[in-house]
Symmetry: C2
Subunit: 175 residues, 2 copies
DNA sequence: GCGAAATCGTTACGTTCAATAACAATTTGC
DNA sequence: GCAAATTGTTATTGAACGTAACGATTTCGC
């Protein structure tokens, strides 16, 4: 678990592979997520589900699952847990094959408490990067997954580097 | 699996959380890893183990496991697989409780073939970032896990940003 | 309309990954 | 020399993720 790089070990090409650095960083943040949310007993996937339901009330299960890249078969148990904890609920939909998903009042209250906790957890863990470092990191990560920048981008210098700066590539983060 | 962001869905705070972007990027690279190495039937953890053994021949199991943040109980099966494929071997060590680990000739040959494949896989997937973008990304990721820069750093501008650049923080990547 | 095909949620199942507990063999410390 | 620690191992558990199949319902082609 604690996979800090051990001194005296030669990691060879692993030091150059971004995939490896990515995995390590992800494990690191994952662990700190649990540390930060220990009082709430919530997992990252559960938080993501609650967020999507909260912001898009009335979606059906398969839509929420698809939005998060979760197989709908695996989503069943995930939602069962949230529903039995009284955080989300399945309501009857027009299409009687499906359910429309909503947060309960309790679910919304939890999210109001959880959001600042998670923001603080990230600030805590990423303090060393600085504001611009954080912006850079998230922009780079989005490029890795081939996403465009979310609209909300202020027109401030967004990914300009001191040297080797590249014009935005066709088909990716455009204007 | 294919967790591209769906249009028409409001992801709320998830768009701001680096942990979420990190997980998505990691899944993305993980999948491309398998695509790139399909002909070799090797998994990321196996590659990491082979790398550490190759660069540090003679280490004992617990040392390799610790270097990669793997529990030694889980390392047993991992190494069993590599050994039964003839890629690595356990040799008797002075301390008769332990084994000294080495690559076989076949293991070394595989690594010679695998390294360029993985470099190409990363270049392919990260082409959109540019050289400086890749350097930046790996530097930022290392900071997330609280590591110092590996020595090999050329004195070229290493993490300077156009604005909001911060002096290197005490205890992290100092010059 | 009506029957075939698709969609939706669900169950059952298998695989992989990571964690804990316990144990035998061996080495180390006092 | 004997208690304590280390090393590799097994057994077992739980979580995460995938596939196959099914019943209920809706949609599509005609």
């Amino acid at each position: 678990m604690s996979q800090s790089r051990k001194p005296g070990i030669d990691y060879g090409i692993l030091t150059e592979l971004i995939g490896y650095a990515l995995r390590r960083a992800q494990v690191h943040m994952y662990q700190d997520f649990f540390r930060a949310t220990a009082a709430f007993d919530i997992r990252p996937a559960q938080f993501a589900v609650l967020t999507v339901i909260e912001r898009n009330p009335g979606l059906k299960q398969s839509e929420v699952a698809a939005a998060l890249g979760i197989k709908r078969t695996n989503f069943v148990g995930l939602l069962d847990a949230l529903e039995s904890r009284g955080l989300a609920e399945r309501r009857a939909a027009r299409d009687r094959r499906s359910y429309a998903l909503y947060l309960t009042a309790e679910g919304e209250a939890l999210m109001r408490k959880l959001r600042p906790v998670l923001k603080a957890h990230e600030e805590h863990l990423l303090a060393g990067l600085g504001d611009e470092g954080r912006r850079q990191l998230i922009a780079l990560l989005r490029r890795v997954t081939g996403e465009a920048e979310p609209d909300g981008g202020a027109p401030r210098s967004r990914l300009r580097l001191v040297k080797d700066a590249r014009p935005p590539r066709a088909g990716s983060a455009g204007t």
